[in-house]
């Protein structure tokens, strides 16, 4: 019974990783107006919720294409996976595994709260029932639910600005996010460090006793379409330094033209992209 459950913790941690890859894209989108934004941000303390909300809002309604590799590292093994992902707004996304060969071709389509998966080995499209939403996505540490939700962070938490500091010539905001009482969030609080160009530098997950459980850090940055975004992020449990998961963007494109058939079941089954 526990094998199936696999540590939802780990999944949630990937969810955030995945989510913030997306947030970083939006940061890239923000870059165009960065100077103006930064000025107003400096003038008055920005609202914490707004800081997160804005980047999410800007990300919505835009399209993206990315090639991502994910590495899961444990003390005695390590595994990597490469994926292509297309997104449109907040609701539509399509992810297709490109390597390793064993998993290549496995794909998931998410439209709002519905999710379908396709496995070339059995040549079937399966609607993922809600009872399976908590199960592993493509054998990874993501749960189906994890990758189909993304705006939880805004709506399920109370955000407050806890402080700011200077780092590498950037202003860095520290935001404390405390989940609502009935929210389906296990954390006691989350602490986010967001740079004034909206790049998330670090996200900390604290338990309800005030102990740090795990941290996601941005390790390096990259340029995509002339914007600065996070390239590599690593999630590390605080009590086990030898276990981590890293997400690396190998290629990112924003605001590309996507065919209207991108997010359809037929495209899920017969890739045309």
């Amino acid at each position: 019974m526990d094998i199936g459950v696999f540590s939802v913790c780990a999944r949630r941690f990937f969810l955030r990783a995945f989510l913030y890859v997306s947030v970083f894209y939006s940061n890239g989108i923000l870059a165009d107006t960065r100077d103006g934004q930064a000025a107003s941000v400096n003038a008055a303390e920005p609202d914490a919720r707004e800081l997160i909300q804005k980047s999410m809002d800007l990300w919505r309604g835009k399209t993206s294409y990315s090639e991502v590799s994910m590495t899961i590292h444990r003390p005695d093994w390590q595994r990597s996976m490469s994926m292509q992902a297309w997104t449109e707004g907040e609701k539509n996304s399509l992810v297709r595994v490109s390597a390793p060969a064993r998993d290549a071709g496995n794909a998931s389509l998410i439209k709002d709260r519905d999710m379908w998966s396709f496995a070339p080995k059995i040549n079937r499209v399966i609607k993922v029932p809600s009872s399976m939403m908590a199960q592993s996505w493509m054998g990874s540490d993501f749960s189906n639910k994890d990758i189909s939700r993304n705006t939880d962070i805004i709506n399920l938490y109370d955000h407050s600005l806890a402080g700011q500091s200077n780092q590498d010539g950037h202003l860095v905001y520290e935001i404390h996010s405390v989940p609502h009482e009935a929210a389906a969030v296990v954390w006691g609080k989350e602490v986010l460090f967001i740079r004034d160009d909206y790049v998330l530098l670090e996200q900390q997950y604290w338990d309800q006793d005030g102990k740090l459980v795990k941290t996601m850090k941005t390790i390096d940055f990259m340029q995509a379409d002339g914007r600065t975004i996070a390239k590599t992020m690593r999630m590390n449990k605080s009590d086990d330094k030898n276990s981590w998961t890293q997400i690396e963007n190998t290629k990112v494109q924003f605001d590309i033209e996507l065919s209207s058939s991108t997010f359809t079941l037929s495209n899920l089954r017969n890739p045309r992209l």
């Binding site: 526990d2 459950v5 540590s7 939802v8 913790c9 609502h180 296990v186 006691g188 309800q208």
Partner: protein, 439 residues
């Protein structure tokens, strides 16, 4: 017994009658055979005592072990009853195959409720019982969510080790096992996230505070079962007015598992009142494991007795063979003197029978003594974890059943004699001339 052999006064008369008895009735012959068999039994004391010890131990194992097995099953039954209170329970037909939210049904209407408050029903409750997943910051576990009416669940016997039962059934507070809390690395007053399938087919998930921790002797339940108020559970799962289980009590002794057929009247009454689509079953048929265990145990006991007997039977046959080989000349002489061959056979069988009977008597006494000695239960707390895994508590009460005792004794006697038949038959067919010429 030694006295009997070495010439008690009574030993004279049978010998006299033996002299004259060859021509008299079979009754006298039988008397002689009895006498001879008994004496022969004690000619080689060491060997006989070893064989007696083997038979006694075998008989003891045949009686005492089944009593432990029955005790264990009874314990499981009692626990299963405690865990699933309700002598008779009603579910949607599919529920036992697929305990999902689709197998829920509406609470009985006012008319049915009125009927359910009449005899033979003395009490009834409604519950939600569905699979769910409970998450903490560090761990996640599959659990069974039970939504219940705290006020009406008078039979639920849970010891709270921390916190209090929620004041009313709509409070969004969870009661979980202390072991589960340990596994999840969470505790009283902490928030956990509960996930399950809602009635709308969507994933229902929500944060809940842990308002109480309970401990059950049965480790497995402790780690798996969590409780929530019925109204709160219905709200969480978006299934207002719906439940997955109805449980009924009625008649005299609700706590006893002794007479499992006492609820037939209750069963029939409940069946007549409730919708025909609902599956109404007595509690002991609800747990498929227990139901099959009950059916299997009798067979297991027979197999056990046979296995012990086979080990014992070889020893018995061997002992008798040895006894016969040592007495080839003597047996030949008896036949030569006119002892009917049948009587030789009978005498050897009697020898075996005496051995079996003494062994059985000692074995029965030992087993009864053991059962009596452990009447307060055998403390197995050293293995409590393993026992809990098997659904058994840390105290094992032997349960002696007359049928088991009878079965063991009859098996040993009948099969024991059958085993002795071959050596005895061979001995009774010796050629006296050849036999007498042996050294």
């Amino acid at each position: 017994m030694a006295a009997l052999e070495s010439g008690s006064p009574g030993s004279q008369s049978p010998q006299r009658s033996a002299r004259t008895g060859t021509h008299s009735t079979n009754g006298t012959l039988l008397g002689i055979s009895l006498q001879l068999a008994w004496r022969n039994l004690w000619r080689n004391k060491k060997r006989s005592l070893i064989m007696l010890a083997a038979i006694s131990l075998g008989a003891w194992a045949m009686i005492f072990m089944p009593s432990l097995m029955r005790g264990m099953l009874n314990d499981s039954l009692q626990r299963s009853f405690d865990a699933l209170p309700g002598q008779v329970q009603a579910h949607q037909k599919n529920y036992r195959l697929d305990s999902s939210i689709e197998s829920s049904f509406l609470v009985p209407g006012a008319e049915q409720q009125a009927l359910l408050s009449e005899a033979p029903v003395t009490h009834w409750v409604a519950r939600i019982k569905l699979p769910a997943v409970l998450n903490s910051e560090r761990e996640s576990r599959a659990v069974q969510l039970i939504g219940l009416n705290y006020q009406r669940e008078t039979q639920l016997d849970l010891k709270l080790v921390a916190g209090h039962w929620p004041a009313d059934n709509s409070e969004m507070g969870l009661v979980i096992g202390s072991k589960l809390a340990e596994r999840l690395e969470t505790g009283l007053g902490k928030r956990v996230v509960l996930m399950s399938q809602g009635a709308d087919g969507e994933l229902a998930e929500r944060g809940f505070r842990i308002v109480a921790l309970y401990r059950s002797e049965l480790g497995a339940g402790d780690e798996r079962v969590i409780y929530l108020g019925l109204d709160a559970a219905q709200r969480f799962l978006k299934m207002p007015g719906k439940i997955s289980e109805l449980a009924f009590w009625g008649g005299a002794d609700a706590d006893s598992v002794a007479d499992k057929h006492s609820e037939t009247a209750l069963l029939n009454y409940v069946r007549s009142v409730l919708d025909k689509q609902l599956e109404v079953l007595p509690w002991y048929e609800l747990d498929p494991y227990l139901a099959s265990m009950m059916g299997m145990l009798d067979a297991m006991i027979v197999i056990w007795i046979l296995v012990v007997f086979i080990a014992m039977g070889f020893g018995l046959a061997n002992t008798l063979l040895m006894a016969i080989f040592e007495r080839v000349r003597e047996l030949g002489l008896m036949i030569a003197l006119g002892m009917p061959r049948a009587m030789v056979l009978v005498q050897l069988l009697l020898e075996s029978l005496f051995m079996l009977m003494i062994g059985l008597a000692v074995g029965n006494a030992l087993a009864l003594l053991c059962v009596f000695a452990f009447r307060d239960g055998i403390d197995l707390s050293a293995f409590a974890d393993a026992m809990a895994m098997a659904g058994v508590g840390s105290r094992l009460y032997p349960n002696l059943q007359f049928t088991d005792v009878a079965l063991a004794n009859v098996t040993v006697l009948v099969l024991g004699l059958a085993t002795s038949l071959l050596p005895a038959w061979r001995a009774s067919h010796y050629d006296p001339v050849q036999a007498l010429s042996k050294d």
